[in-house]
Every structure is written in C-alpha cells, then in structure tokens.
C-alpha cells in the first residue's frame, strides 16, 4: 500500500516537475561567494592644507594670423598653480609664449587683473596692449584671448579691458565675446558695417553682450551676469541701466541694485571728458532711488559698485562714473568698516575690484531630506578653492538660521578638514578622526547624503570631477558601512532635488 502511494506520488511529482508547475527553487549565489577587488592606494604623505599635484589641463591657444584672416591653434598642457584657474593660466600662456610663426604676438602685454566669476572672464590687460597697435591688431588680440578662453569648459563669455577701460572698435563697444571669432578681418568688417548703419537716424539697434554686476544677497559681493542688450549710438548707458533695472536672472543669490518700473534718471546720461583726458559718465538719479536704497537695505557701495563695474565693463573708453542721487553727488560710501572716498565724485572700477565675487554651489539636505543645491556668493578665489568651498559648506550647514543642513548631528568645524589635494581632476580629501567618529552613527541614507553633499559640492568646481576620501591620511572602507571610500567617488546628480538651484538665503 505504502509502496503504491509512494509510486503514485513520485509519478505525479515527476509530471508536475516536467511541466514546470513546481517551484524548482532558485540558484542562490551570495556576494560573499565572490571576491571583490580591493584597492591598496594610500597617499604617500599626509594631505594637509590645499595642494595641487600634477594639475595639467589641455588648452588650445589661439594665435591670430598676421593678415587677420584666420587663427592658428596650439594645443598646450598647462599646469595650474594653487588658487589659479585654468583660464588665467591659459591667458598667461597665450601672452607669454611666442606662438607659431606667422602669427601676431602680444609683445609686452601683461595681465593687470583677472576676473573669473559666474562663468565669465574679464581680462584686464596692461596699457601695452593699446600701444602701437592698430584697431584690427587690438581686435585680433582680444579675439585670441576670447577664442582661447571660450574653448575652456565653464567659460561662457570673455571681456577684455585695457587698464581698467573697455575698448571700442569702430567707435562701437566690443562687449563680451561669447562665440569664437573665426576671422579678425571679417569681424572688423562687421564692426565697420555696424558703425555705418547705426550712425543713420532711426536705424535698428545692434546687439551686444555685456556684463551686468549685481550685489549679492549677503551684502558682500558684486557678481557679474552675462546679458544681451540692444544699443544704438546714443543709448549705451541707458541700455545698461535698463539691464540693471531688470534685475538678476541667472544668479539666484544676486539682488537688483536699482528698482524696476520707475523712471530713475533725472537727466539723460552724459559722458564728458575731463581736463585730465578721462571720460566720465554722469548719472543723475531721482529721489526714488534714495527711497529704494532705504527700503531695500541696499548699501550705497553696492549701488555705486554695481553702476561703476557695469558701465566701465562695457562703455568704450570709460574711466569712471559720477553718480548723483537727487542732485546730491555720491562722493563716499561705507564698505564694512572702511570708508571709500571718491575723489571728485569719480567712482572707478578699481574701487570695487576686490568686491567682485563669484558663485559656488553647495549641496545640503533640505527639510524634506532631499539633497538640494544652493548657490552662494563667494570670493573668486574661494570659488576655485576646494578647501574654501568645503569650509563654506561646513560653515553654512552649521549656521543656526540655515534651513539646509548636513545629515550629521554635530557641527563640523573647519579643523575637521585637514587638507585637500587636487590630483588631476580628483580631489583627495583628508578628514579628521573627529569627522569619522561623528559619522559612525549615520544611517545608510545619512551616510549617502553626507558623502554626496561633499562630493557634489566639490565637483561643482570646474577642475574637480571626483573625490577620494581619507581619514587622518589613511584610506577607510566606509564612514558608516555603506559607501565604499577606497575608490574615487564621482558626483551623483540623480539624488539632487529636481528644482532649480536655490538661493542660500
């Protein structure tokens, strides 16, 4: 009987198995059965401070041919120094190296100052650039610099000044170069045609790109924003005023310097030439602007700086701006603890050169536990410095008023960041044991968010694509057991909340 039952059961089981009607079980092969490759990469020396190793960038240098018909490019590997951006190194290389035969050389032209902020570059050349150069040669020099810099990632516009003064070509502002110039001769011919056209009454305006400087919401910086404007022969200044009145559009941490919607100018802007030969733009604002300043909390230096930088960056051969509010000339302003006095009411570009800032993107956790990018105004140097950026990240996350935070309970101190070493486009980040200890209790989600807050923030820099973590100079497996730290970590754009990058405040 039992044998019979067993036989039936066996036959039916076999039939069911053949039909695939039974769960055959699953082949299990756990990860533990497969050996994972291990990294033995350890830094030779303790990483302290901010250092760079072997930072070579491939850049194409543009040299204009002597006849101006074309450009010759030379591919160069440029080594950037600490605190130096690739565009700056590129301009240095372009001006210092002779280039191939048959091209124009810059001669003794030097770089007086270099602004790299918000994706725009302003190169301030020495007066040598203007000496003994024809308009075409000058245009060729500017186009060489512009073409070279526009070939570098992250650069969207290039403005060239000579001795703090914007140059003209055929009596028209050259503005900010945003596209590569293929032929100097063709570009010059276009300037000539535009000059002839604009001189006629009722002619259509010409388009130019200009840098419009706005104060930032933290009251520390003036940041440039690239703007396309339309100008006629006598509306250069008013077009810029209108752009300022329109307020910032791309930089979220910037605020308007003059209000929109009201007629502010009492008189038509006038450029006069002083006895010294300097060209000065006079702007006479109504009392409305004074009221706006009082209402918005904007300081006078921000208004003055915004106007001076914007006007001198675009208006041809403009040395200074004279600002009057309700017929009261602005002759001084407070900038922190300092007082800036404007001699003869002349507000110059150099008064605010060290107030030109840039923006950096910090990644932090918002109230809904999402990683969110915020745009913060920082100095141009900080915008290029991984260490400064992380310090700003820690500082901002630790601020009590901040709505954004890092997923770590304790406040991270700048001392927890022992050093950052940039090797190629990898930032080797050396963090303290205290940092490691604080991270031990993080949840997997918290660990992930912390790591990627740091990585995404650092990788918002043009020069950094990945981050390698070290704890007290040694490679650690993980911070809290989830993210493997013995390999480089690339940014994770997918976990950033989809909304646009926010203003930090």
């Amino acid at each position: 009987m039992k044998k019979s039952i067993a036989l039936w059961a066996a036959i039916i089981s076999l039939a069911l198995a053949l039909s695939g009607c039974v769960f055959r079980g699953q082949e299990t092969r756990t990860v533990s059965q497969i050996s994972l490759p291990e990294s033995d990469d350890e830094p030779e020396n303790m990483i302290l401070g901010e250092t760079m190793l072997g930072n070579l960038s491939e850049v194409s240098l543009y040299y204009a041919a002597t006849d101006g018909s074309s450009f010759s490019t030379v591919r160069r590997s440029l080594r950037t120094e600490a605190g130096e951006s690739v565009p700056e190194a590129a301009v240095r290389a372009l001006l210092s190296s002779p280039g191939p035969t048959g091209v124009r050389t810059a001669g003794d032209v030097r770089v007086l100052s270099f602004e790299y902020a918000c994706g725009t570059v302003t190169v301030n050349l020495s007066i040598d650039a203007r000496a003994a150069q024809s308009p075409q040669e000058l245009l060729a020099l500017e186009a060489s610099i512009g073409n070279t810099l526009l070939g570098i990632g992250g650069v969207r516009g290039v403005n060239v000044l000579i001795a703090d003064v914007s140059e003209s070509c055929c009596q028209l502002p050259t503005g900010v170069q945003t596209e590569t110039v293929a032929s100097v001769a063709a570009a010059y011919a276009q300037y000539q045609a535009e000059r002839d056209r604009i001189a006629q009454s009722g002619a259509a305006p010409v388009s130019r790109n200009a840098l419009v400087y706005f104060p930032t919401d933290d009251g520390h910086w003036l940041v440039p924003e690239l703007r396309s404007i339309s100008v006629t022969s006598d509306t250069f200044a008013t077009a810029l005023i209108d752009a300022l009145k329109a307020g910032p559009k791309d930089v979220s941490c910037a605020v308007p310097s003059i209000p929109e919607g009201a007629e502010l100018l009492e008189d038509r802007p006038v450029i006069e030439t002083l006895a010294s030969g300097e060209r000065v733009l006079s702007l006479n604002f109504s009392s409305t602007l004074a009221n706006y300043l009082a209402f918005s909390g904007l300081e006078v230096w921000e208004l003055a700086g915004s106007l001076a930088l914007t006007m001198t960056s675009f208006l041809p051969e403009l040395d200074a701006v004279r600002v009057m509010v309700n017929n009261d000339p602005v002759t001084m302003c407070a900038l922190g603890d300092d007082i800036i006095r404007f001699e003869d009411g002349l507000i110059r570009r150099r008064h605010f050169a060290d107030r030109i800032g840039s923006t950096a993107t910090l990644f932090l956790i918002d109230a809904s536990d999402e990683l969110r990018g915020i745009e913060r105004a920082v100095s141009m140097r900080s915008a290029l410095s991984p260490q400064s950026l992380l310090t700003e990240l820690f500082r901002y996350a630790g601020a009590e008023s901040g709505a954004l935070r890092l997923p770590i309970s304790a406040v991270l101190r700048p001392e927890d960041l022992l050093g950052v070493q940039t090797v190629g486009n990898v930032a080797r980040l050396n963090l303290s044991g205290n940092f490691y200890r604080l991270c031990q209790t993080l949840s997997p989600r918290g660990e992930r968010d912390l790591i990627y807050a740091i990585v995404n923030t650092l990788c918002s820099l043009e020069s950094i694509r990945a981050v390698r973590f070290y704890i007290e100079g040694r490679a650690a497996d993980t911070l809290a057991g989830t993210i493997y730290l013995k390999s480089v970590i690339m940014p994770n754009p997918g976990i950033v909340a989809p909304s646009a990058i926010e203003n930090g405040d």
Binding site: W8, L18, S19, R24, Y452, R465, I483, M490, P493, G494
Partner: protein, 496 residues
C-alpha cells in the same frame, strides 16, 4: 463510525473505479506536463534570448560611449546618457569602476556602494559579457538568481547584462544594464496557468465522463455481486435488472436465468421431497393402521386378518413401486447410461400394445395400434418400452369402460411420431403444463386408486429427453387426451 469510514475508504481505494480514475488522471497530468514543459521551454527560450540580445546591443553601445567619460570622471555625461537610455527602455543602467563601486546609477540608489554579481565578476575576470536573471524582489537586491521556469515566488524577474568598459584598450569599469523581464516571466506563467487550467478542466471533464462510464460498468457488476451474495446467503429469488443490450445485460440475463432455474430446481426439490415424503407416508400410515387393527383385534378374525394383510401387501407393493420410480429418477438425474441399439419402434409399440391388451379388455376398453411404417430409432429398448407402456397404461387407466385407446406410429421428417389417444376424462388446461412434474396428480384420489405413483409421466419424459426426443400432451376435459412422442430416427436409411 470511523472504522466504517476507513473501511469504505480502503474499499474505494482498492476498487476498479479508483484505479481507473487514477490512471486517467495520471495520463492527463503526464500529457499536459510534457506539453507544458516543451511549450514553456520553447517560448521562454525565444523570449529571453530576444531580450538578452536587445539588452546586449544597448549595453555595448553605452559601454563604448562611456569609455572616455569614465576615465575622465565625467559622471554627468554618463548619467545623462544612461538616463536617456533607461527612460526610453524602462531599464536601469549602472556604471561600475574597477573596484565595483557604482559611480553612475540611473535610479541614484546605489551610487558609492559596491555591487557585484556573478556576471560582473566574470566580466572583471576577462569575459566579453555575461547575462543572468535575478529575482530583485521588493528590495531590489540582485543576489538571488531566479529559475526562469519557476512557477511562483518571483516578484521582479530582472535581467542583468554586464559588459566591460574599455578606455584606450584597458578595462576601466563595467557597465551593468538591468532590464525588467517580469512581463516575459508573467507571460510564461500565464501560459503555465492556462495549461494548468485546461488540464484541470480536461481532468474534471474526463473524471465526469469516467464516472459515468464506470458507473455503467461497475453498477451492473455491483448489482450482480449483490445478487450473487444474496444467492450465496440462500436467497434464490435474487434478480438483477438487465440494462441496455450490452455484455453486462447479457450477463445479467444469464444470471437471472440461472437463478430462476436454481429457484425452480430448489422449488422442485422441495416439492419433490415433500411429495415423496407424502407418497411414502401414505402407504406406511395405511400399513400402520392395518397392523394396529390386527394387533388390537380380540379375538383375531382370520378372514379379516387375511384381508388386512392383503391390504398391507398391496401397500408394500406400492411403496416398492414408489421407491423403484424414485430410484429410476435418481439414476436419470445422475446421468444413467443408455444401452443404445437400433430398434424397430413400430415393433416395440405393437409389443407393448399387445402386453396391455388384456388389461384393456378387462377394463372394457378398445385398444388398437396402427404402425404401418418400419421406423428405426437408436435407443435403449427397455426404457423406450417403459415409455410406451406407461403412456398406454395411463390412457387405459383414465379411460372409462367402453372407451377407446388408439396408438399410431408415423414419420414426420426425421422423427418417429407415436401418438396415444384416448377417449378418457381428459386433463384440465391448468394441469396440462404440470403433468410431467414429479408427484403431480391431476386427480390425486383417483390416481392412487389406480395404483399410480405420480412419477410415471415424469420418468417417461426424462427417458424421451434422454433419447433426444420430445413428449407433449394435448387434452380437453371430457374429450380425452393425446400424448405425442417424437423420437429422432436413426441415421440408418429408413424404409417407407
């Protein structure tokens, strides 16, 4: 109660019905199993192969594109390209570096974590590519390889395709392309379920038909079994109802015929014993009365004593005849042997008429015989003599004085026909079918008076039947009777 149920269950398990049912079920399951296995294998192999080829094409295209990106740590470009593909294909793309750290994940869940599967391991060890299927389940983990023909338990069947990412001919990472193949798996499972459903439906249909067929087979067997059981218990009245016109109906009819015959035999036996007892007891009682009368007769009258003893003698003779007839019947029943010889049946008839002629005269009855033809039969002379004698003797006994008894012999086809007709009292129609039964008497008092035992006609019939012949009687009350005996002629050529 439980014991009864268990007994019934055991009886059912041992029944033909159960075994045939199981056999049918087994045939269905094996047949459908083989079909399902072949179908699932073929369809599954085709669908999964197609999917793996599609995945391979996409993954290898991405891997080629990502070679430069990975070495330049361009996560954004890889993410954008991977996301575009993943969105279009509803799949998931992972980019792993050589340490198996996920650098790009279109789902942005595994970034920074190490991820390894057998396929990735194989690629890191030099394989061109590898493909595997996993049950990602609710957790999305890819550590549980799934059997493609698993019938259940797979929540998220996922295909994992791994291929190397080369940068300047050096392995720089692994691209993992994860596609959902649950819909393929569900399709296969649907096919399996449909086959199972069909199997269940067919099984139910077959079982129903089987039950009906088995009922037509086993019900007559059961009824027959019940009838036999009743018969074995002594109930010879058991009958079964023949249903239809099949073998079982024939068997039922045969059984009914057999049981009817047995019942008749049993009734005959009982009747016979009863009759025999009665027939034997009657002379014995008479003898006992006569002897007791003699014993208590004081003084004993010699004349009366002689008379009584004469009566006792007669009763003893009667007893003797009854016993002789009974022995004859017993011999017949036991298969008595015939001393066969070629007989002139006409001569035999005339001889017996001649023997009984004095008795006929004594009773005032005219007896004649007409046997013109010479007819020969093969038979036992003594027994056929007894047949003819008994019939003519009966005719004489039941024909009143002045009556006639005619005997004729004729030929009808291959038979010799003896007719014995009388002008006697005749036989009622109700008694006519029973006159050949043992101890059956039409007029019981008269029969005894004539010295009959009630066995004569029965013996006659048995002898005739033993010779392959027939006997029948035709009669009407008051109009006499005719007994017709037909005996087969011998094979020897008969003379006219």
């Amino acid at each position: 109660m439980a014991i009864i149920s268990l007994t019934r269950i055991k009886a059912f398990i041992h029944s033909i019905r159960w075994k045939i049912t199981i056999a049918y079920l087994l045939i269905i399951v094996v047949a459908f199993g083989a079909i399902a296995f072949s179908l699932i294998q073929l369809v599954g192999e085709y669908l999964f192969t197609q999917r793996s080829r599609d995945d391979q094409r996409i993954a290898e295209g991405l891997a080629e594109e990502f070679g430069g990106y990975l070495v330049a740590f361009d996560a954004q470009s890889m993410y954008d390209a991977a996301l575009e593909t993943a969105s279009a294909e509803q799949s998931r793309v992972l980019v792993l570096d050589r340490l198996c750290v996920v650098q790009v994940d279109t789902a942005s869940e595994m970034n920074g974590r190490r991820f390894i599967t057998a396929e990735i391991d194989n690629v890191l060890k030099g394989a061109d590519s590898d493909y595997g299927f996993y049950d990602a389940g609710d957790t999305g983990a890819y550590w549980l390889r799934a059997a493609l023909n698993a019938f259940s338990g797979v929540d998220a069947m996922t295909g994992v395709y791994a291929c190397p990412i080369y940068s300047q001919d050096a392995l720089s990472g692994v691209l993992v392309y994860i596609s959902q193949v649950q819909e393929i798996y569900e399709s296969l499972r649907d096919i399996q379920l449909k086959i199972l459903s069909w199997m269940a439906l067919v099984a139910i249909a077959v079982l129903l038909v089987n039950a009906l067929v088995l009922r037509t087979i086993t019900r007559p067997i059961g009824e027959l079994n019940e009838g036999i059981s009743r018969m074995s218990r002594g109930d010879l009245s058991a009958r079964v109802v023949p249903r239809g016109n099949n073998e079982f109906a024939g068997l039922a009819r045969a059984f009914n015929s057999m049981s009817e015959r047995l019942e008749q035999l049993d009734n005959s036996r009982s009747q016979f014993v009863s009759n025999a007892s009665h027939e034997l007891k009657t002379p014995l009682s008479t003898i006992k009365i006569l002897i007791e009368s003699l014993m208590y007769q004081e003084p004993l009258d010699p004349g009366m004593a002689k008379e009584f003893l004469t009566d006792v003698d007669k009763e003893i003779d009667r007893l003797n005849r009854i016993v002789s007839d009974l022995l004859t019947l017993v011999n017949i029943d036991n298969g008595t042997k015939l001393n066969l010889a070629e007989l002139d049946i006409g001569a035999l008839l005339q001889e017996q008429v001649k023997r009984l002629l004095p008795l006929a005269r004594e009773n005032g009855i005219e007896l004649d015989c007409a046997a013109k033809d010479r007819l020969e039969v093969t038979g036992d002379a003594l027994k056929l003599q007894q047949v003819v004698y008994n019939i003519i003797d009966n005719a004489i006994k039941y024909t009143p004085r002045g009556g006639e008894v005619h005997c004729t012999l004729s030929r009808a086809a291959r038979k010799a026909v003896i007719r014995v007709s009388d002008t006697g009292v005749g036989i009622p129609q109700d008694d006519l079918p029973h006159i050949f039964d043992r101890f059956y008497r039409v007029d019981k008092a008269r029969s005894r008076d004539t010295g009959g035992t009630g066995l004569g006609l029965s013996i006659v019939k048995q002898f005739v039947v033993l010779h392959g012949g027939t006997i029948e009687a035709k009669s009407a009350p008051g109009k006499g009777s005719t007994f017709i005996i037909e005996l087969p002629l011998s094979n020897k050529k008969q003379e006219n």
